[in-house]
Each structure stands twice: as C-alpha cells, then as structure tokens.
Subunit: 372 residues, 2 copies
C-alpha cells in the first residue's frame, strides 16, 4: 500500500479525549498486512511512558507494568481492519439522536484499542499489573493471527490471571465463547443410469437419516461458570449428484456444531460422532471454546465495576473470538468493547461515542479500585 | 469439417454384403452436423431404385413404397455419430472368438442403417408398405433432431401403423420406452449465523422428509402391452448452503422419475407432486414414454419373425429413445438393431457381425412373409 507522506503520530495520550483518539486511529489506514504505520505510531506513543515496558514482535506491540501486584490482567485488541469501503476518513455523525463515530474500524475494533491506549498511559498505578496488547492480522487467516504468533513465540508476554479482549460487545461483558467444529458426513452408494435405478444405490437417499437426525436434534443450553451457552448443530452445506440421469454414489453433508465451553474439542467431536453413529464422519475444522472464568479470583470486581458504569450484567458470547486463544493458554477471558458487533465489516460501520467513553470509564474504575 | 476429395459413393445395394455395407457407412465420417456427404450418398444410392419414392429434408432422406398394402411400417435410423475417437477407419476383428466390426458408428447406429439400406433396395414387394427413414442430428440437442424436424414439417412422411427404430438392442426387440420427468423439490428456511442457529430455520434439515420419502419409495413394475416396465424415482442432485457458518435458507433436491409408458407426462407430474405433497415442486424437464404396441395388428408377425431368426422374445426398453417421437405421432414403435447399447459412444465401440446379419434376416423374413 502507499506509504503516507509523513509517518503518522498519535496525540499525547494523557491529553487526548478517548473518542478523538479513536478517530485518529481510524484515520491511519491499517488493513490487515499494512498495520506497520499504526504499530509504529503506537510503539512511539507508549515507549516514553515511564511505568511501561514496551515490547514488539512484527506489528504487535506489548506494553506492561511491573508493579508487583498479586494479579495480572491482559487488555488486548487487534489493530488491523478489513478493507476500507469509502468509509474513511472517519466522521462524527448523529444517528437516531445519538453521536456516533462513523467509519471503518470504529466498531472492529479501534474503539477498544483507543480505550486501551488511553488507559495504558494514564493508569500509572493500577490495582492489577496490566499487559496491554496491540496485535496484527486478526481479520485474515487464523495462521497469520498476531495473538497466535505471540502465544507461540512469547507465551510469557501473555501470561495473566484474566484477559479482557476489546472486541465490540456493545459495551457489555460477553464471557468466553462457544467452541466450533466442522464435520462432513458422507454417504456412499453405487452409481447407475436412472433409467435402471434399481441397479444402483442412491447416496442422496442414504442421507435421509442424517438429515432426520439433524432435524430432530435438540440443542443444549449449558450453564458454564454462571453463563448459559446455547449450542447449535446445523447442516451448513449438502452436495450430491453428478448428472441428471445418474444415480449418485456419494453425498456429503457438512455440519457445524457450536458447543458450550464446558466441552473440549475432543468431547465435541465424540458427541458429533455419536449423533451420526453408523455414518462416515470426517472432521475438517475445529476450535475449542473458552470458559468465561467469571468466578476466578478478582474477576467479580471487574464485573461489578462494569455494572456500576453501564448497568449491564455479563452475557455469554456465542461467536468464536480470540478469547479462545487466551483460554488455550489457561487465561480466562471476556469480550468487552464499544460497538455493535453486527456492524463490524459493514459499509455503514459506526460506533456510539458514549460506548467508547463507557468502556474507558468502566475499565478505569476496575483498575483503580482497590489500588494501593 | 474437411470435405472429402471425392464424393463418397455407396456400393451397389443389391450386390453388397450387409456387413461390408456397414463398413462403408462407418468410413464416411458423419459426426452430427456433418452428415451431408453420407446423406448425399444414401440419396444417390436410393434414387434409382424403381419401387421407391425418395424424399429429402436437410440431411434426412426418406424412401417409401407405394404398393397399396393395408399396413405401413417405418424402418428408421439416424446417420450421425458422436465424434470419432481414433476408431476409424473401421476394421473387422475377432473379439472373444467372434467376428466384430470395430469402429465409430458400428453400434450407434450404422449397422441398423446398413440393414435398412440393404433391405430398402432389395425388397421390391414387401408384405407391408415401408417407409425407410435416414435422419440427422440424433446425437445432439433434442431441438436439432432430424426425426423431430420431419415430424414437425412432414408428419405425413412418418405416417405408419408400426415403426422399427434400428437403435442397438443386441438384435433383440426392445419395445417402447419409459418416460422421464425431472423436478426440483425446494425447501426454504431463514438464514442465520450458526453461532446463533436458533434464530434461523435450516432449509437442509427441512429436506429430511424429502429424502425420507425418496428412500421409502417403492418403485412400480407395470405391465404395458405385455412388457413389464420398471420405474424409478431417484434423487440426482442436492444442493444447499452458502457458507460454513451460515444456517442455509434454501435447499434443492433434483429428482428424476422414470415412468412406465402407461402413464402420460401429466400423470407422471401429478404422481411426483403427490409423493412430495406439502413441498414446493417445480418441473424442469420431461418427455413422455412410448407404449410398445406389440399387440397392434400385424406386430405379432414381426415378433414371430424375429424370434424365428434370433430365438429371442421382446423386452422393455428402459432408456428414452426416439421411439418416443413415433409414440407422440400415434405410431407404436420398437427398438431393434445390432450392437450392445453399452458400447455406444465408447472408444472401443464394436458390433458382432452376426448381429448385423441376424437383424437383416429377421426384418427380411417379416417383410416378405405373407407378401403377395
């Protein structure tokens, strides 16, 4: 991409308003793969902060306190966006009587990044030691994910007792996430001309019980650490047949099982195999869920602080997010960030500015309460 | 295609052996669309025959007697072939101890054409008036079919009490044909993210009863004019799903019903709609079957004559052939020709020469017995 004429710089983090800071972040293009200038600007803004150690790997920047607290929290966010759709530079607009920041990244998730930067500089003596993580390549293939790279190369940088991921959650706490597994259920038969159908065995007909089991399946709702996760077992694709006069000898049903984080990926696979007992089941993809960990020591303080600011209470996260990567490291994690996730990636992506301020206020309240 | 240096000519039809004549026909390339030279040669060979009136439309040649007989038979064959696959010029070979003519067109269906030409010139006073039909464009799209064109432009040329189509049938009588109808059964639902599957309605799951009805369906075997036609109801394709994380809102099952010629196309459609009652059914294609008409006046003589030569008895034809076009004109029709239909279009297409001779002998016996 085109290098800006002058390297972008962030405003003074101690002076800038968090909404203004979000606008600046949005206006530094950082589509996945081109996060360099924004990562440079973040590193340059944090490097002089006396209470932070600043680390870098690729276009991921990590800044952390070393205050000797008994607990450490990670506050993390990705700095890349999906491609711009004529929706930059960002603007303040009024939508339905509410001030919003309009533009790419305002929801997913430079609001959350701005909140973290704002507090990283400001909270000189938080109640928890804090590791602020700004990472790259979240919006592209999972194997490029910057958080995944940090987990592999520098797991110590992510070590913590609790993690807050600033993904958009309408400024509510969305705990953990369901796991997901994709399988293909295959039926086979024997090809024949349909003019002599009795000489064949129809693989599509043989898939009737597969669809019947899906149709009859009753998905669970599972309480995990106080949040109720709804599961789902869905056919997401079906293919069979090669010509309009041929009895097909193969039919494939692709099935997506979203499972509560009380189940491991292995347990989820075993469950799907049990549902489709007697059929050929091949796992094609899968990712474990993440427990919300809301009962872990200190986490109720976070919930209480957010509730005092927003009036909300935690809800389960159904979609799969990078909280799962923390779960895999043994770190309970929640999503908590400004913006409506259904507007992420949309051409009309926009975020209420009061949600950005509410998230900053709630995190600040949590991390300052009980501080020495 | 390349025009041959000299226009091809057929040997003297009264002199030539029928197998030699088949070889000559095979060696005049006549892939669909390039039947002109062969049609010219056929017309030139028949024009001087005193007892025949010769007619032409495009590359179809029709030759008929006007002997004032009480019944008229059509003996028909298409003169085009599928593309040559290095299997010309034709050769006499021995396969499994049996002499065969090897090459494109030997089965589908220049053997049948040679038999007709051989007899057209030879039978000066057949027991039936005979219309010999040699037509183009059978191996391509149905709307190009030369027999269909004759039926539309010159239905009087095809008027008859009975028709013999020389399509390969291993020198046995294969009577009539099943009809065929293609429908698409569609289920719909409501799209949703699979992470919130309960907000959607899964159209693939909704197709479970469609497949169940197909799996449970018991196809009929129906006696029509003394031949037993087996039916079949087959899913030939199924599609649904647009992404691996989306509850699909549409699923389509394509179904092919092959039905006995006692059922009209309209009755077949009604039956399929009854099987899938409650579902959206769209007819996408269909063609009626053809009754064998083996009980029509004079036809038992044909069966008896063939049986005396070959020892065989009539069987139903399951595949759809141009006999159906005769049925649509009210002319009962059978398939009767040399060659194994499973070798049609094959690179190793070859036809036992004794089947060519048997077909010629059987037709000659039928058309001369009882002649004045």
């Amino acid at each position: 991409m085109t290098q800006p004429a002058t390297l972008p710089r962030l405003p003074d983090l101690l002076e800038a308003d968090v909404v203004d800071l979000t606008r600046v972040l949005c206006d530094i293009p950082s589509v996945s793969g081109d996060e360099g200038p924004l990562a440079d600007a973040i590193e340059a803004a944090l490097a002089p902060v006396p209470h932070l150690e600043v680390l870098r790997d690729g276009d991921a920047v990590v800044a952390r306190t070393h205050l000797g607290r008994s607990r450490r929290a990670v506050v993390a966010g990705h700095i890349d966006t999906v491609p711009v759709a004529g929706n930059l530079p960002s603007e303040l607009r009024v939508v339905d009587g509410q001030e919003v920041l309009w533009g790419r990244g305002s929801v997913d998730m430079l609001g959350g990044v701005a909140v973290a930067l704002h507090l990283a500089a400001r909270l000189t003596a938080p109640a928890w030691d804090v590791t602020w993580v700004f990472y790259d390549h979240e919006e592209v293939a999972a194997d490029l994910n910057g958080l995944g790279r940090l987990a592999e190369r520098h797991p110590d940088w992510l070590a913590a007792d609790f993690a807050v991921l600033g993904e958009p959650s309408n400024a509510g706490i969305e705990g953990g996430c369901n796991g997901t597994i994709q399988v293909v259920v295959t039926t086979t038969g024997r090809a024949a001309h349909t003019g002599r159908a009795w000489r064949g065995e129809n693989a599509i007909h043989a898939a009737a019980p597969v669809l019947a089991r899906l149709a009859e399946y009753e998905a669970r709702a599972v309480d995990v650490d106080g949040l109720v996760y709804r599961e789902g077992l869905s056919a997401v694709g079906i293919t069979g047949g090669i010509a309009t006069n041929v009895v097909p000898d193969r039919c494939e049903v692709r099935v997506n099982y979203r499972f509560a984080p009380s189940r491991s990926l292995e347990e989820a696979e075993a469950h799907v195999r049990e549902v489709f007992a007697g059929f050929d089941v091949t796992v094609v993809d899968g990712a474990p869920g993440a427990r919300p960990g809301l009962d872990r020591p200190g986490v109720p303080d976070f919930i209480a602080a957010v509730s005092r600011v927003t009036g909300g209470s935690p809800a389960p996260k159904y979609g799969w997010t990078d909280v799962s990567r923390f779960a895999a490291l043994g770190v309970p994690a929640v999503n908590f960030g400004p913006g409506d996730p259904s507007l992420a990636h949309a051409d009309d992506e926009h975020c209420p500015t009061d949600q950005i301020r509410a998230c900053a206020a709630a995190l600040e309240a949590w991390l300052t309460e009980g501080a020495p």
